[in-house]
Each structure stands twice: as C-alpha cells, then as structure tokens.
C-alpha cells in the first residue's frame, strides 16, 4: 500500500496530551464557527490559529503534502467552475458592481466576485489544518471512546472502532484479490474501456463481499460470546480523564465560536461580510 494511513505518531506535545474527547469537541466548535460565517476576517483569524496549532503539534509538512495537493487541485477546479457557472454571484450577494475587466461576453470579472471567491477559497482552506490536527494527533482507539463521550450511542461508536480496526485487513484482502484477478488476465488499468473496467472490478467485488460476510459472522459470534450489548453502557480501555488543559482548550474554542456568532449576528447582521457599502 503506497498510501500511509492513519499516520498517527506518538509524540509528547501539548496537543497530543489533550484527551481525544477534547480534540473532537474543539474540532466541532471551530469547524462550525467556520461554517456559520462568510466573513473573511474571522476565517483568516481561525486559519492563522490553526496553522500555529499545527506547528505546536509538530506536524511536518511532508506528512500532509499529499493532502494539500489534493485539496488545492479540488479548490482550483471549484474556483474555475464557480466563475463559469455564475460569474455575477458576487454582485448578487454584495449588491454593488465594480468591474475590473471583461474577459468575453457576459464574463466580466468584478471585485465582488473576486472577493466572494477568495473568501470561499479561504473558508475551505481554513478547516483543513483543523481536521489534520485532530486526525494525526488522536489515537485511533481513543477516537471511538471520545465520540461516545459526546453522547453518541455506544453501539454506533463500536461500529466506528471496528471500521478503524478492520480497514487495513479489508484493504489487504482487496489487494490480494485484485492481484489474483490481474494474474488471471483481467485488465483494470487505464488502457481498458470504462465498461470493461466496470465488469472487471465486479470480479473483485464478489469475493471481497463474501469474505467480508464470513468475517461479520465470525466477529459477531465472538462478541456475542463475550456478552457484548447486554448493558446500557460500556467502558473504554483507551479513555483519558479530563485535565485542566482540556477544559481550558474547550473553553477557548467555545469563546471563538461565540465570538464568530456575535460578529455574524450583531456586527455584520448577515451571513456575508460586505466591505463594498
């Protein structure tokens, strides 16, 4: 497998020391803060803060370079498509029109459109480091227990921890079956046509599903034998007790969320921040 997944590494930084529950709560607070606003000032403030946190967590750029490349390609496509589909959307939002230059026909670049698209770009970009920090500094076994801590039913959380546990196994199965089918001569590379690729991929899918169904029987029997699901709650081996630092960071994130809401409802009085009036 070329892709290194869940490259969680055990380091001793202030962010690694926080419990998974805290990191999840902070992640949710900050991402909802970004979701609720279209004010570039708030977004940039959160972006700067999250890049500082990434530095504190000692996440090296080489770890996340691939993700950034994917995101930038995605955002660039989105940028171009937005302009192609609605070149006047910014004018519609901000209510004024300052032309910069006309490209052709109806496609006039306006300051409003540029401002709207740059805001959107930074809005998407600002949540990326938050997700990376959460994902790269949280122990996978602690992840499910922290979701249970937020109040999600423990059976659903157990499903999630099973997913994280069996993902490497299923992808190893997938690779083994794929290689076996390729050895039999099924072409799955770009050379084959879309239809024949679809057909050849179904040849991997059937054995993959059947192994998975067998495994489901095996695991659920083992869990039943150990009395899973008899009680209303369960305990978690990988749960850290909350410390002062945990409460402090949750408090800070809550204050940021409230500040963003304050700016949205009492300063801007709308979803968008309008510098053109």
């Amino acid at each position: 497998m070329k892709l290194k997944l869940f490259s969680y590494n055990q380091l001793d930084t202030p962010i690694h020391r926080l419990s998974g529950f805290t990191k999840l709560v902070c992640f949710l607070f900050l991402t909802s803060a970004v979701m609720f606003t279209y004010d570039i000032r708030c977004i940039l403030a959160i972006t700067v803060m999250s890049y500082i946190c990434m530095n504190v967590a000692k996440i090296r750029f080489s770890q996340v370079r691939l993700m950034f490349i994917y995101v930038l390609i995605f955002l660039a496509t989105n940028f171009v498509l937005t302009f192609l589909f609605s070149p006047k959307y910014g004018v519609e939002i901000y209510g004024t029109e300052h032309d910069i230059f006309t490209i052709f026909g109806n496609y006039t670049l306006t300051q409003e459109q540029l401002f709207y698209q740059i805001t959107k770009f930074s809005k998407y970009l600002s949540v990326i480091p938050l997700g990376m920090i959460f994902f790269l500094t949280t122990n996978p076994s602690e992840f499910a227990s922290s979701l249970n801590g937020v109040g999600i039913n423990y059976k659903a959380c157990t499903s999630l921890s099973l997913t994280l546990r069996y993902f490497p196994d299923v992808s190893a199965d997938y690779n083994a079956i794929k290689l076996a089918q390729q050895a039999r001569g099924l072409d799955m590379s770009k050379k084959a046509s879309v239809m024949s690729r679809l057909k050849n991929i179904s040849a991997i899918l059937a054995p993959l599903i059947f192994t998975t169904m067998d495994r489901i029987e095996l695991i659920s029997n083992a869990m039943d034998l150990r009395g899973f699901g008899k009680q209303k709650t369960r305990t978690w081996y990988a749960r850290k007790p909350l410390t002062k630092a945990d409460w402090l960071s949750m408090g800070v994130c809550l204050i940021i969320l409230l500040a963003v809401m304050y700016v949205r409802f009492f300063v801007n009085r709308s979803f968008y921040y309008n510098p053109f009036i």
Binding site: Y70, T77, L81, K120, G131, T163, I201, L205, I209, S220
Partner: protein, 184 residues
C-alpha cells in the same frame, strides 16, 4: 441503533471499512469533472438492503467521512450527509428484500423494490440534500451545485442500482432456501 443486534453492529463496522476501501481505491473517472463512478454506493446499498436504514446510513456516513479525513484532511459535510441519506432511504427496502435474500430468492419483485428505493434515495441525496447543504453551509452558487447534483445523481444511481443488484443476486445464490431438499 439502540436495539440493534451484534450482527448488525459488526456489519456496519465492516461495511464502512469496505465502503472506505472501495471509495478510496476504485475510482473510474466519468466524463464530467469532479465526479467519479463510485462502486462504493453499490456496496452501501447492498448492506442497507440487508441490514436496514440505520446500518446503511452509518456505513456511508462513516466511510465517506473517513475518506475525506484521509484524502483532504477535513470532511466535506454536505456530501457526507447526502451519502448517508441516500443509503438510509435505500435501507427502507430491507423489509421487502432482506428476508427473501436470506432464503435465496432475489427475483423481479425484490429487484423492483431495491431499484425503486435506490432511485428515491439517490434523487433525495444528490438533487435535494447535497445542493441545499452546499448553499446553506458553504454559500455555493445554486446553478453550480444543482448541475453537479444532477450529474452525480445520474452516474451514482446507475452504478448503485447495477452493482447493488449484482451483489444481492450473487449473495442470494449462496443461500439455500426453505424446502429445497427433495426425496429421491
């Protein structure tokens, strides 16, 4: 999920892992930009039809969210919720499909039910949920998101219906039905 059997919980966990693997590694690019033929939706439909709506919802939701975490670093909530809703609605067909398939029957009636609910689920997800959430959360222009939504609907509906039916058919043929033994 509260009263779910252990088998359903495990199926959810492993189904999500399977969904994630297919979502990440099997991408057949379609002619439209930003959309791929996603075999994974066939798998979430298959599990939803066998184990019910909640299981389907969680499979698609967990699988898609983890994929976004791994590939982009941060989840794209509008499309993740849409994936979940799509499998949730497909899961309503469980009542008509699951017990028959466990007996080894996957005939015209079952196919019909499965395809109808897949159609409703995919339409609700890509034409209603995803674009509206995109507009509300991310302030995307409506014309862009609806154009993307309709293409995603067409592509994903065909893939999900075809792959889901093939898988259910194959799974049903491994099961033996009632009264299939005959005296010689």
């Amino acid at each position: 999920m509260k009263n779910a059997s252990t088998r359903t919980i495990v199926a959810t966990g492993l189904g999500a892992a399977l969904f994630l693997v297919l979502f990440m590694f099997v991408k057949i690019p379609s002619p439209v930009p930003e959309t791929n033929l996603q075999i994974a939706y066939g798998v979430s439909g298959f599990f939803a039809a066998l184990f019910g709506p909640v299981c389907g919802f969680l499979i698609a939701f967990i699988g898609h969210a983890l994929n976004d975490f791994i590939a982009y670093g941060s989840p794209w909530w509008s499309w993740i919720v849409a994936s979940g809703v799509c499998a949730l609605i497909t899961g309503i067909s469980k009542g008509a499909v699951a017990s028959k398939v466990e007996e080894g029957i996957f005939g015209f009636d079952e196919i019909k039910m499965f395809v109808i609910f897949t159609l409703i689920g995919q339409a609700a997800a890509w034409i209603v949920v995803a674009p509206i959430l995109d507009i509300v959360i991310y302030g995307e222009p409506a014309s862009l998101v609806f154009a993307q939504g309709v293409t995603a609907f067409i592509v994903d509906f065909i893939t999900a219906a075809v792959v889901g039916c093939l898988l259910l058919k194959a799974y049903a043929s491994t099961k033996t039905g009632k009264g299939t033994l005959s005296k010689e």
